[in-house]
Symmetry: C2
Subunit: 142 residues, 2 copies
């Protein structure tokens, strides 16, 4: 209710006309910070917005990315994931359970010499491996 009100103002402030679909999709993104795919967003919102088209999900996300209120996570090469948290932070993907975890890192002391005169606009750190929970499950089974 009030959340929607906030979203409406927020979208307006960044120059996006707050249509019902756009508000619902943005609301979904901030309530589900688990880096959803287009498919997940569409599947979950369809019951509540029966007329929703997958094209609208694609168009809306592209608009959000253009206006820089959403970032694309390409940690897997199969399909894109979306994140309403546009701050620079890292992503860990567990190859066992598939879950994607956020983590923060210090990009100031990366000490990168080769590109020090380059103009940096986006920094993405992707780490793959096995999360603590899956590690413990593995231990038990051995």
């Amino acid at each position: 209710m009030e959340q929607i009100q906030n979203i409406e103002n927020y979208l307006t402030n960044v120059g996006i006309k707050p249509s019902y679909q756009r508000m619902k999709i943005y609301e979904y993104l901030i309530e589900n910070m688990n880096h959803p795919t287009v498919e997940m967003i569409y599947k979950d919102l369809s019951p509540h917005i029966p007329t929703l088209s997958k094209t609208t999900v694609y168009n809306t996300l592209k608009l959000f990315v253009d206006k820089e209120i959403t970032q694309i996570i390409t940690i897997e090469d199969t399909e894109a994931r979306f994140d309403a948290d546009t701050s620079t932070h890292g992503h860990f993907k567990c190859i066992k359970c598939g879950k994607i975890f956020d983590f923060s890192f210090d990009k100031t002391n990366l000490n990168i010499k080769q590109i020090e005169n380059f103009d940096i606009q986006q920094t993405h750190l992707y780490i793959k491996g096995i999360c603590e929970n899956c590690k413990n499950i593995d231990k038990k089974n051995n």
Copy 2:
């Protein structure tokens, strides 16, 4: 000539039967460290191997990745890129000229707390922006 000989031995050592196609594709990867796409590899090798199939390029790259002599670079969400340098190193993509630059970074001082008990297998650092050359071109035009 001799290069091919080395590649033949190298592939054999990592457990890959060195067919002509596989040797040529691996040779292409180490001679073109510009992180080619499947399309680039296929286009460039086709004239020299007229019977080459794009499926063979896909199959061969998957085999190289499985045997860990090649890594997949997913810096763009459109198509996969391949890198015969499997060491942990960063990639910078210039959004003007599209070129992808390698750089080294010290992953030890990233200071990541949230995933310190996780089992890390791969680390990918992708940075996007404008390279020095394109920056200078921009300056001249303003």
